[in-house]
């Protein structure tokens, strides 16, 4: 905090308060999935350039024409657990319910595999 002193001899005691929140910048900043609306402020080409620089070879951009969306960015590692098309369908179904064409939505996807194996004793 610091005092702002005006040159006015009739000092009224005006002050400014600055608060700072420091947090870690997420790398990559788009988590697992990014849904890009058709009229969003950022388009797939710009996102492609961003991920090429920040997280090369970790994401795939899929152009879609589904509801309000123009493209979906998916983290490659998710495709190891579930097929890309299956995941894409689920995400688009849910995304279409809440998003508009101007939206850019990021999604965190947790996939838990439940495995039960029966073995002979």
């Amino acid at each position: 905090m610091f005092n702002l002193k005006s040159g006015n001899s009739n000092d009224t005691g005006r002050k400014a308060q600055i608060s700072i929140i420091l947090s870690e910048f997420e790398i990559p900043p788009i988590q697992d999935v990014l849904l890009i609306g058709k009229k969003a402020p950022v388009g797939p080409e710009a996102v492609q350039r961003m991920i090429d620089v920040l997280s090369p070879e970790q994401y795939e951009i899929i152009k879609v024409n589904e509801g309000p969306f123009e493209a979906v960015v998916i983290r490659n590692s998710l495709s190891l657990l579930i097929t890309r098309d299956k995941l894409l369908n689920i995400i688009l179904d849910e995304g279409c319910k809440i998003a508009s064409e101007t939206a850019v939505l990021k999604a965190q996807v947790n996939i838990v595999l439940n495995i039960n194996v029966e073995v002979d004793l």
């Binding site: 009229k39 969003a40 402020p41 950022v42 388009g43 797939p44 080409e45 710009a46 350039r49 101007t102």
Partner: protein, 280 residues
């Protein structure tokens, strides 16, 4: 033939693929233009952005996210007529012009229509005599053979007096259409010289040109007869027998001589009632 480079705007105002859409919009507004070719990091053409694209997307986007990719473009040596066909077929307003891989200009539909309109006879749709003369000079300049065929309708003044000028205009229109339909191969270039006179230039030798003229005359006689407006036409052929290269400085005079000789030969055709006469 008029080529794209005769008409295109150059140098071209462009946008960079990483420019913001709002910057592209500003460039368009400042220069009063409706579209910008987009260059990539290697300065190669990679898209085109129009004022319509700008209206369609968020202004924060980069040009790469608003432009049309797979740009339709033309080579600078493309003829204006081919460029016009491409614009009409693809329903486009402008075409970037390339020389090799380098962007060298841009041509719009309006540029083409204005230029073509200036050289087109409004009645017959054929090129004007002055344009055919320009074309003839270019044929000579390129070192090619040049043959001039001059066509003159027989007794057209009488047709006008007997049936009226509207009827006469219809006859001319039909004749013009026959020339257009029979010169699509790119070997013969027809134009309306003046009144009831037509001119065709070609790089074919005079004998072939004479045969072609004979065929055209037969068609004109038959078709106009069928349409109930019979006309007869006579032709004169000049040139088409060059042995040595011409001096470039005499191109214009040579073209004048050939047109004059062909015109006199067509008068002889009328006098002797033959379809085609070759000039000496």
């Amino acid at each position: 033939m008029l080529k794209v480079f005769d008409v295109m705007s150059s140098p071209v105002i462009t946008a960079d693929v990483l420019d913001s859409v709002s910057k592209a919009a500003l460039i368009m507004e400042k220069n009063k233009i409706g579209g910008l070719p987009v260059l990539d990091e290697r300065k190669q053409l990679c898209g085109i952005i129009t004022s319509r694209d700008v209206r369609r997307v968020h202004h924060n986007r980069i040009v790469a996210d608003a432009m049309s990719k797979n740009v339709v473009h033309v080579n600078k040596y493309t003829t204006l007529w081919d460029a016009k066909s491409i614009l009409e077929e693809k329903k486009l307003e402008r075409l970037p012009v390339l020389e090799g891989c380098k962007l060298v200009g841009i041509i719009t539909r309006t540029d083409i229509l204005v230029k073509i309109g200036r050289h087109t006879d409004p009645l017959t749709g054929l090129m004007t005599g002055s344009y055919i003369r320009y074309l003839a000079e270019n044929i000579l300049k390129a070192g090619n053979e040049l043959t001039v065929i001059f066509f003159d309708l027989n007794g057209f003044g009488l047709i006008n007096k007997k049936h009226g000028h509207v009827y006469g205009d219809r006859c001319l229109k039909i004749v013009g259409q026959i020339f257009t339909e029979n010169t699509s191969g790119g070997l013969y270039f027809p134009g309306r010289y003046a009144g009831d006179e037509f001119i065709v230039v070609t790089t074919e030798k005079k004998d072939d040109a004479g045969l072609w003229a004979n065929e055209i005359i037969k068609k004109i006689v038959n078709i106009t007869k069928k349409k109930g407006m019979p006309v007869n036409i006579a032709a004169g052929v000049a040139g088409g027998r060059r042995k040595n290269a011409r001096m470039e400085i005499h191109l214009s005079a040579t073209v004048d001589d050939l047109i004059n000789s062909a015109s006199l030969a067509s008068t002889l055709s009328k006098q002797y009632c033959v379809p085609v006469t070759f000039s000496n």
